[in-house]
């Protein structure tokens, strides 16, 4: 092999360069530290993604368990979605601002699950090749949309918590953004 520092040809098993004294073991150690750091960042990003998903589902399941305590007259549910897919527009849903808002809670659950799936893909891709920045940027955009829907969805189904307790709505959104930043940091 050749020394990375001076370019002189040296023995493959050599730990130091006989010409300039370059330490190959130290270089390997630095590489290992960088790889470990990147791996930790990927794992942290993925864990944050899962925590955010858990919080979103917990908030919206709590709302479902509490029934119509939130005072929302209409909540676009999975049944509605199934009806819409199977039977078309069977419920004569009017596409107005209220309807768009009513999709937000369901969308935030679906988007959060989708974000977790994209997170798994990003983790696998970046673990094998850290130079693929495209997947990290895709995750960032996807995450941003999910974060917005998460806040809108939570506020829509649980509007009476728009006081201090409403801070729980922002936690998953911010966690997702942090996860996206960590994925970006893990790229080369």
């Amino acid at each position: 092999m050749f020394c990375k520092n001076c370019g002189k040809e040296i023995d493959n098993s050599a730990k130091f360069c006989s010409n300039c004294g370059f330490n190959f073991d130290a270089e390997k150690l630095v590489e290992k530290v960088i790889v470990d750091k990147r791996k930790t960042m990927l794992n942290a990003a993925f864990a944050l993604n899962i925590i955010a998903l858990g919080i979103v589902i917990a908030i919206l399941l709590t709302v479902t368990a509490l029934g119509d305590l939130s005072g929302v007259a209409y909540f676009f549910t999975f049944d509605d979605l199934a009806d819409l897919i199977v039977n078309g527009d069977s419920r004569n849903i009017e596409f107005n601002w209220d309807m768009i808002l009513s999709i937000a809670p369901l969308s935030s659950i679906i988007l959060s699950i989708a974000t977790a799936i994209v997170g798994v893909i990003a983790k696998i891709v970046l673990s094998s090749n850290a130079s693929r920045k495209g997947i990290a940027y895709f995750y960032l955009i996807f995450t941003f949309i999910t974060a917005v829907f998460t806040v809108i969805g939570s506020v829509y189904v649980f509007p009476f918590l728009l006081c201090f307790a409403g801070f729980i709505y922002y936690i998953p959104a911010i966690l997702l953004i942090i996860a996206a930043v960590k994925f970006l940091q893990a790229t080369k």
Partner: protein
């Protein structure tokens, strides 16, 4: 083991950032406040914002009277502060050793 500890620290610190940022948004930035009249239900957050304001003014007793949950927030704040402080001291020491 060190990787696990780093991972745990990153997750912990990210949660601190998320909680602090959410608190700042709700306390000072979000324009929508106090909509409890929608449900007529009392929730645990009643008076918490006032309690936070009182705490920041240094009025501990008044803050506690406003909402007892302020103790939990105070405790969380102290834990977060100590945790971050220990990390900063460790970093400073390792840099000084170098």
């Amino acid at each position: 083991m060190k990787i696990f500890s780093n991972l745990f620290r990153q997750i912990r610190f990210s949660l601190y950032i998320a909680i602090t940022a959410s608190g700042i948004i709700v306390q000072w930035i979000i324009p929508l406040q106090y909509k409890c009249d929608i449900s007529n239900n009392k929730c645990f957050a009643c008076g918490l914002r006032t309690a936070v304001n009182l705490l920041l003014d240094g009025k501990l007793v008044e803050a506690y009277t406003s909402n007892k949950l302020i103790l939990g927030i105070l405790l969380l704040g102290i834990i977060m502060f100590i945790d971050v402080l220990i990390y900063i001291i460790k970093i400073a020491r390792s840099k000084a050793a170098e």
